[in-house]
């Protein structure tokens, strides 16, 4: 298979030093290897639900602030109205989502990514 695209015009390569030593890597095989597919599947399963949750929460908050102002202004907890209760919940929620992601990335994504890269180095030789 032609590998002309593997050796980028050096001018435009962000990492020219990376590609020089390894001009024969078959990248379509690299992304087809099971270790890499598993990494992507795993990442998707962690990231997609978390992004959906926080984007829906935040979009919902903004929609309420725009179109349901009486709801947001309704008294809720002591001097706080519904809107401020939601805003106060949003902060720890953001922090929790971020921490869960970092935990998942350190514990699961990184080892799988390293394994995929190791496989590639072995197969490329």
């Amino acid at each position: 298979m032609s590998i002309s695209y593997l050796v980028p015009h050096d001018c435009d390569s962000a990492n020219p030093e990376d590609t020089k030593g390894a001009p024969t890597i078959d990248w379509s095989a690299a992304i087809a290897q099971p270790a890499f597919r598993e990494l992507l599947r795993f990442k998707w399963r962690v990231i997609a639900p978390m992004m959906t949750i926080y984007l829906l929460f935040f979009a919902g908050l903004m929609l309420l602030a725009g179109y349901a102002r009486p709801v947001m202004a309704a008294p809720a907890l002591g001097p706080l109205n519904v809107g401020y209760v939601l805003i106060i919940i949003a902060y720890p929620m953001c922090w929790a989502v971020a921490l869960i992601y970092v935990f998942a990335a350190d514990a699961w994504f990184d080892p799988k990514a390293r394994a995929a890269a190791r496989n590639l180095a072995r197969g490329g030789k």
Binding site: S4, Y5, L6, P8, H9, C11, D12, S13, A14, N15, D18, T19, G21, A22, I25, W27, S28, A30, I31, F36, L39, L40, I47, M50, M51, Y54, L55, F58, A59, L61, M62, A65, G66, Y67, R69, M72, A73, G78, P79, L80, N81, G83, Y84, I87, A90, Y91, C94, W95, V97, A98, L99, Y101, V102, A105, D106, A113, R114, A116, A117, A121
Partner: protein, 508 residues
């Protein structure tokens, strides 16, 4: 006030110039100039990111909005935190893994075409200048307040200092100035919060009751600032996704060695800046209760002086020594804030000009190390001078619209081309160019037709155009892509980008 202001001003100048002097001796290669040799740890980059992101517009602006308009200010502040989740989960690590110095690197690495890189250069320069000019104007207003210099001289001082930091100290100086500023700002927020809590019997809820008692329940409701509901949505969208398209934020992820450090630095940022954004509401409310909305409006109709006025009140009032010291200190911290943000913007812009435009597009990458550094320093000088000139022209104009424009263009032009470059196999150079053109043009045109420029009965009803211009940017990128038939080479190129972006593979 003048002597005290001068003393604090000189102190900040002395510390930051000492940092620059120290950094200058360690800045000799292109990689040290642009990224401090990618040697920062998670806490260092986290504090520097916080220093970059907690601008004066954030600390003074969010507090002022909360003081005058209630919940809309709190929603702004929350948006500034939410934006980093998309950066954390989608953008930061792939960017770290595929680029070296700039946003243009990532686009150039994927597309291997100078035209694609050029589109990223345009997006970087426009967004950064739209951000930089309000910083110049704001910094000049604070110098005027501290030292009593006229506006023109103040702009010249801000510009000169910012040029010296970046030109000589590069990323290392910029980083440590941002770290120092972040610590100063966090300390100021902590002291203010302690004094406020002392005033309200250490129960933050009483601040809410006090606001309601004085200004009515409407103050705690949304819609006082952004009356059009679409504006609220559009603003949320800008923050949630546009933050990921800000080049000066993106560049910070090149200062760490790997993806793992990049993600940990975002946690630092989210905890530090998130806490500050959260307390801006309490600080703003305390200012509304203790200083009063009329006094805040009289000092500045936009509410930007709510924090300094509150500091003056908490220090003992306008005529007391404590009040004067507090006011001068808060003004000085705000000034340091502006310098740190301006330095980051100048560095990121000069990267786009020197590294992307000159070295890669014009010279095809064939530029020696020494010359690269020289060109980088010269372009930071040029960027600084141009920013000064634009800052002078901006006198008396409402520069707030530029901040809206900056984040809106970042969301509508930069964000689509970054995301599609990293995640869409079929995406190509034509898509990059059309996406950039469509997002940029629609954001600028709609902002100019909107109420921020035209006054209230405007052709385009809302201030922030993102809700329209971001979909336009994405559609432009899609249509541009399909204009050119699928080329196996382009499509196959994606495999390498995807693999490297997700694994951080480097062959060394």
């Amino acid at each position: 006030m003048k002597t005290l202001g001068l003393a604090i001003f000189l102190l900040i100048l002395g510390i930051t110039l000492a940092i620059t002097h120290w950094a200058a001796r360690r800045t000799s290669s292109a990689s040290s100039f642009y990224t401090a040799d990618s040697s920062l740890g998670p806490a260092q980059n986290g504090f520097a990111l916080a220093g970059d992101w907690m601008s004066a517009a954030a600390f003074l602006g969010f507090s002022g909005l909360a003081a005058l308009y209630g919940m809309d200010g709190s929603l702004y502040a929350l948006g500034a935190l939410v934006g980093f989740l998309a950066i954390l989960m989608l953008i930061a690590e792939p960017l770290r893994n595929t680029g070296r110095y700039t946003l243009g690197d990532v686009i150039g690495f994927r597309m291997q075409r100078p035209e694609a890189r050029l589109a990223a250069v345009v997006g970087t320069i426009v967004v950064n200048f739209a951000y930089l000019i309000p910083q110049m104007a704001g910094g000049a207003v604070l110098i005027k307040l501290l030292l009593g210099l006229p506006y023109q001289a103040s702009v010249a001082v801000v510009g000169a200092v910012m040029i010296v930091y970046v030109m000589f100290g590069g990323m290392l100086a910029t980083t440590w100035i941002q770290i120092v500023k972040a610590v100063l700002l966090l300390g100021t927020a902590a002291v203010l919060m302690l004094l406020i809590l002392f005033h309200f019997g250490f129960n933050p809820l009483t601040i809410f009751s006090a606001v309601e008692a004085r200004y009515g329940a409407k103050m705690l409701a949304p819609g006082n600032y952004l009356s059009n509901p679409l504006d609220q949505l559009s603003l949320g969208l800008s923050f949630a996704l546009g933050t990921a398209g800000l080049p000066h934020v993106i560049t910070r992820f090149y200062t760490v060695p790997d993806a793992r450090t990049a993600r940990k630095s975002i946690i630092w940022l989210m905890l530090l800046a998130g806490t500050v954004f959260f307390v801006t509401t309490l600080i703003g409310f305390a200012s509304a209760v203790l200083v009063g909305q009329n006094a805040i409006r009289a000092a500045d109709p936009g509410g930007n002086l709510a924090v300094p006025l509150l500091a003056q009140f908490l220090g003992g009032g306008a005529d007391s020594i404590g009040g004067r010291i507090f006011l001068a200190f808060v003004a000085a911290v705000a000034f340091a804030t502006i310098l740190a943000v301006a330095a980051g913007l100048t560095l990121s812009t000069s990267g786009a000009i020197a590294h992307d435009l000159y070295v890669n597009v014009i010279k095809g990458g064939n530029v020696g190390e020494e010359r690269q550094v020289k060109v980088a320093r010269l372009s930071s000088l040029a960027v600084g001078i141009l920013a000064m000139l634009l800052g002078l022209l901006a006198q008396g104009l409402n520069v707030a619209v530029l901040v809206i424009l900056a984040i809106s263009i970042a969301a509508s032009a930069n964000f689509p081309i970054i995301v599609l470059s990293l995640f869409w196999r079929r995406f190509n150079t034509s898509g990059v160019i059309w996406g950039m053109a469509a997002g940029l043009a629609s954001a600028v045109i709609l902002a100019v037709l909107g109420p921020a420029v035209q006054g209230p009965p405007a052709l385009f009803p809302i201030v922030n155009p993102t809700i329209i211009s971001m979909p336009v940017g994405f559609v432009g990128a899609l249509l541009g892509t399909f204009l050119v038939p699928r080329k196996p080479r382009d499509v196959a190129r994606f495999d390498e980008v995807l693999f490297r972006a997700q694994t951080g593979l480097r062959t060394d």
